[in-house]
Symmetry: C2
Subunit: 506 residues, 2 copies
């Protein structure tokens, strides 16, 4: 018989996680005097003691719920056996100055990037076509197809032409308080480092969102109005767009990669389609690499409000100062109220896939989710759609929805994306490379052409988190330099940009 | 000097609209003893009397506002001179049985359509690929491109392959009360008559929206799960999708157009980018044609809650019975509350383009907007995302946002779309033909390859509303039969489908 595989995160934990590809079988000895009493699928929890109703069930050293029935030692701890604890009360959380952990800085790590005039650095050289309103989205697609066919082959140093498409711009209450979120997102998307400041904006003319709002002053942009009376018909509009596009393509094509310090990286961490291994393999490995980026002077951020809501006490304890702590709590409060207005709460977060993968509830999911932020102090909090201003670890407040989170992370200035999944998703972004990490080797083997980095060996004891964290760090530098291409870029597999618009449509 | 052109809608009106391409000039005699005292741009209002502060300003026979300053006779009545009236109080509106106008039925009008098993009829023969979650949208695009290249040429009777893409499915509070709207929209989009009941659904596996919700029982659908353990890698998924797609394409390719009565048409009326002519030319012409379709036994619906809100008393008076009247008021109430939750109201509707085009406020816009519904009794009211069940004129409650309204009208079962614009928009839908009507010839001339039907001659007195209404009716039958192709279909110019999701993201 093989040695049964399981993971016991902290000595305080009174459950363990069935590892190995086949899970635990009845009779498998787990620890001294504890054997599995039934089949426990991979990623699911086994009881290390007999729980009485009301007993806390502890994972990651924290209570993820209380037993609502007797759960015998060695048996499968299933979702419906746990009573979810109340969310931490935000007004009761106090910031206490904790000694900032000292860390060794990392010097000498570099990547080959595209330097921008505003000081940011691109990891790709992409021409972006933005728009002030969705009405012109079809026109943008038409023009992009034509550019790809007729112009792009002439400008081989330009990686791609993409549509910064969105469903905003008109038919919306543009003066409602929440409108600021989609508006600044559209603006900041156009400022993403990978677009090199060369933006063409397609506009209609009669829409509510004024195109100048998108371009601001920091990009060398052109605005083309379809309703411009000097343009006669669609072909005229297309001709104008092609001419403008070529001017930008020429400039982008002249750019060259240069050696940049790793501190120019702006890395967004996200997980999606999580399973119970995400918090044990993929997320800790990503968290270790996040620490390395911060030590090298770079920016790293994590997001997903409803996924950290239940771990807020841990995050507040990591705040660099009281201002950051207050901002963290304020973002949680805003989101609580937003959900309440829609008659929902944070428990709406978990998915059928999470549960099938062994995550019983949002508390367990949250504790595993924050692991990907590493261990550094949180130096700033950025509201949805805003752009990061600092180096170091930051929290960018976004919904947990993968594509919405990714879009807002791009707006925050992300030039490299790390995405951890347990169940698997073909998620990809055209604006920045997405490094897809699997939490288990079963997925990595099956999805051999969609997963970039397998953190599964950690669960099998074959590699340590530290080893794999370093591997990931080096892999990130390779991808940022264009030396390695991620799976979704090889396949051209991209999601739409999806805004977060909490305001009403009209 | 040319005869100055202006339009005076009803004898009660104390303003007239400057017509002609150049508007009215100072000194132009409008009526007996009334001359323009300044330049009044095309589509804008001229005062037929001197208004004192507080005087009602009447257009279409209704008060569109009160003067907030002295407005001399013959001068330009500008937006900022009007105080908007309060919205009609919904609880005070009473339904009074009004004699249903009798109308002559129209017999013998037909079109060539694709008959479906569920009794509906398609005007196009399109293969639709739906999805349970946006995570697989990139995969859908990949597969569609491959189908278009490798399969579609083998099946020439299939018009197109389209993605029923949406940003829903996960990362949403799927049990929140408002979630029913996007969910039923996705379901009903897959049931659109132009898709012939042949639907392929791409799914992930771990998402919240279960794919079976999309297909229901009425379509011959296949669901492909990317997380299916029998699929090894992306190429396997693509192969499976291609094989399934080909089965559906074969069936769709075997269909032939057959002669169908005009009563099989389901026509959605919408306007967007309106100007002051929309209510005088395009909308009345479309309204006349709408009456003809209803007289021929077909279904016609109009939408855009915030654009009819101020004309609700007129609509309630046209309700076929008290139940319809109550449903109309209930939809207005729901939307009032929805806007209020987001700290907005119906005044947020008008756009800079509307105002530039001469529409002072939402009241004036609404009075012109409802004209496109014609004059028939309203026999039913359909909630957002629901499908129409009846023949005759109906109100399908949707936001006024063009692309959201169009998406919900497709979900309502629309097989032909009539869209009136004054400012101009390249708006198009891949699922159903969009007949684009211009309210003025200036736009039609400039946008010669984007406008399908010019209602401008009505403003110039060259044709009557009745004449042009009949022309439009015949044009609609031609488009529905595939004999004529609308501009956006010629160019392949399509907007995305955009859901209405009033519920929260998680």
């Amino acid at each position: 018989m093989n040695k049964p595989a399981y993971i016991h995160t902290t000595p305080k934990d009174n459950v363990a996680i069935a590892a190995g590809l086949l899970g635990l079988h009845s009779g498998d000895v787990i620890m001294e005097n504890i054997s599995a009493t039934e089949l426990i699928p991979m990623g699911h929890k086994v009881a290390l003691k007999t729980f009485q109703p009301g007993d806390p069930i502890i994972r990651y050293g924290y209570t993820i719920g209380t037993a609502n029935c007797i759960i015998p030692q060695g048996s499968w701890v299933q979702e419906q056996m746990l009573q979810i604890p109340d969310a931490p009360i935000l007004d009761e959380i106090k910031f206490q100055t904790s000694p900032i952990p000292s860390f060794e800085t990392l010097d000498g790590y570099t990547f080959e990037g595209y330097k921008n005039e505003d000081g940011s650095v691109g990891t790709k050289n992409v021409f972006g076509i933005s728009m002030s309103v969705h009405c012109v989205a079809g026109m943008a697609n038409y023009v992009i197809e034509k550019i790809k066919k007729e112009l792009l082959p002439k400008y081989p140093h330009v990686d791609d032409v993409i549509s910064i498409s969105h469903t905003y711009g008109c038919g919306v209450a543009i003066n409602a308080p929440a409108a600021i979120i989609p508006i600044r997102t559209i603006h900041n998307l156009a400022r993403n480092p990978n677009l090199g400041g060369e933006i063409m904006v397609l506009a209609l003319g009669c829409e509510k969102l004024r195109p100048e709002t998108i371009t601001g002053t920091s990009t060398k942009s052109d605005i083309l109005y379809m309703q411009d009376e000097s343009l006669t018909g669609f072909q005229d509009m297309v001709d104008a767009a092609m001419e403008t596009a070529e001017r930008h393509l020429k400039k982008l094509n002249a750019r060259k990669r240069e050696t940049c310090p790793a501190s120019d990286l702006v890395v967004g961490m996200q997980c999606g389609g999580s399973d119970a291994f995400s918090g044990l393999t993929g997320n800790p490995v990503a968290g270790f690499a996040a620490d390395l980026i911060v030590r090298a002077g770079g920016s790293v951020f994590f997001s997903e409000v409803t996924e950290v809501r239940d771990a807020i006490e841990q995050l507040v304890a990591r705040a660099a100062d009281e201002d950051v702590a207050n901002k963290l709590i304020a973002e949680m409060k805003w989101y609580d109220q937003y959900l309440e207005k829609g008659d929902a709460d944070r428990s709406a977060n978990t998915t059928p896939g999470n549960k099938k993968g062994g995550l019983s509830n949002i508390v367990e999911k949250a504790l595993g989710s924050v692991v990907k932020s590493g261990s550094m102090p949180i130096v700033d909090v950025v509201s949805p759609g805003d752009r990061v201003q600092k180096k170091g670890l930051q929290f960018v407040a976004t919904p947990a929805s993968d594509f919405v989170c990714g879009t807002l992370q791009l707006a925050a200035g992300m030039n490299l994306h790390v995405f951890i999944t347990g169940r698997g998703t073909p998620y990809g972004l055209s604006m920045a490379p997405v490094i897809k990490i699997s939490s288990n080797s079963k997925l990595a083997n099956r999805w051999h052409d969609l997963i970039d980095f397998d953190a599964g060996p950690v669960a099998l004891g074959e590699k340590t988190i530290e080893e794999m964290g370093w591997e990931l760090f080096h892999y990130m530098l390779d991808v940022a330099s264009g030396r390695k291409k991620v799976a979704t870029d090889v396949l051209g597999l991209y999601n739409d940009l999806v805004l977060f618009n909490p305001g009403p449509l009209t």
